[in-house]
């Protein structure tokens, strides 16, 4: 686990000074960031700004999971990569950019596909998990591993001009399965990977919606609490270890 420190170094104070004087943020929030490890799953459209801003702002340890390689067709919105890095692992490329921005952030590259067989120890090693992936099977996998590991899951998704942002498994709020006990029929899942959203989330449990082509671009929705009969996070859970998520979600789950 990340070794906690008791005070910032002088170079850190110089770097984060503008945040330190922010009312409602300050030294305590900066120390919380510095002593926190976060795992960003996916270094694509959502993972790009996510990793850049988290790394820049002073997260102590940042894990980046992605098995894909940088392709020219990614660069129109995956701004953490660049043209010279075509063919490089996206996790590697994202880590390079974060290290150039902030050498104080310890970046860990997970150049792999997250699966039932390997997810739990990786999730367990971080304090907070951020789902920036684009398929249903990984969403259920991350949800279950986060419930089993007791980690909050920040889940972002985007499609075309719409975006959604939710925190699951946090402060008596729901897990992903409380909201969506069964996966959608495979024919309803489109993984277009185009669009974008980033935001902040709060108590009580809410979902934030973004839509660039409606008159009310943003709305915040009050969500249910944790469901006592949820098979994952409820009072008597029936799932106690990771399952086969590709089978659970049907054939479309890992399509892109």
């Amino acid at each position: 686990p990340l070794q906690k420190i008791a005070k910032l170094t002088n170079p850190e104070i110089a770097r984060y000074g503008r945040q330190l004087i922010l009312p409602g943020f300050g030294i305590h929030a900066q120390m919380d960031l510095r002593n926190c490890s976060m795992l960003v799953v996916g270094a694509g459209g959502l993972g790009s700004p996510c990793a850049l801003y988290l790394g820049g702002s002073g997260v102590g340890r940042l894990g980046i999971v992605d098995h894909d390689t940088v392709d020219i067709s990614n660069l129109h919105r995956q701004v953490i990569h660049n043209e010279a890095r075509q063919g490089m692992s996206k996790a590697q490329s994202a880590a390079l950019s974060v290290r150039l921005l902030n050498p104080h952030c310890e970046v860990i590259v997970h150049d792999l596909v997250l699966e039932s067989s390997n997810a739990q120890p990786i999730i367990d090693a971080y304090d907070i998990v951020i789902d920036a992936t684009d398929n249903v099977a990984t969403r259920y996998l991350l949800n279950d591993a986060c419930v089993l590991g007791g980690k909050p899951l920040v889940s972002g998704s985007a499609l075309r001009l719409d975006g959604q942002l939710t925190i699951y498994n946090y402060r008596d709020g729901p897990c992903y399965r409380c909201l969506f006990p069964t996966p959608p029929p495979s024919e309803t899942v489109t993984n277009c990977s185009d669009g974008g959203v980033l935001g902040v989330e709060q108590d009580p449990p809410t979902m934030t919606l973004f839509s660039a082509n409606s008159s009310t671009m943003f709305r915040t929705i009050k969500l249910r609490k944790r469901k006592s009969d949820c098979i994952m996070c409820g009072d008597a859970p029936t799932i106690t270890k990771l399952i086969d998520y590709v089978r659970f979600c049907g054939s479309s789950a890992t399509d892109k």
Binding site: G42, G44, G45, L46, G47, A132, T133, D134, N135, V136, R139, G156, S157, A158, L159, R160, D162, G163, Q164, L179, F180, P181, T182, P183, P184, P185, E187, T188, V189, T190, N191, C192, S193, D194, G195, M207, L209, S211, N213, S214, R219, I221, K222, L223, R224, K227
Partner: protein, 112 residues
């Protein structure tokens, strides 16, 4: 209670749901205030459950299975909001519609 009454319900669609409704993000619908209770001639006040069936049969232009599930609720992966809140807080299918309610159907997104 006049059984010919209708309720003015604002339906909204998001996250791709609108593609099932001729790309309309919003429909101002006049929904019957009462529905027949199954296998009797009695009528009951319209619930969200009734609304879902009514939408599937009167508003949907194509592929109703992308909207309604085999149990008469919305298919999995759709979140329903009643006046801005998760419908689970309002009784889900049993919630009784009121005039001028805003009901939102959101399909979960899976882009990253």
């Amino acid at each position: 209670m006049d059984p010919n009454n209708t309720l003015r319900i604002e339906l909204q669609f998001s996250g791709g749901m609108e593609l099932l409704f001729d790309n309309q993000k919003m429909i101002k619908a006049n929904v019957p205030a009462f529905f027949s209770t199954e296998s009797t001639t009695e009528k009951h006040a319209a619930t969200i459950g009734d609304l879902i069936g009514w939408i599937a049969s009167t508003q949907l232009r194509e592929r109703p299975e992308l909207f309604i599930g085999p149990d008469g609720s919305v298919r999995s992966g759709i979140l329903v909001l009643v006046n801005g809140a998760d419908w689970e807080l309002e009784g889900e299918l049993e919630y009784e519609l009121e005039d001028r309610d805003e009901i939102v159907f959101i399909s979960t997104l899976h882009g990253g």
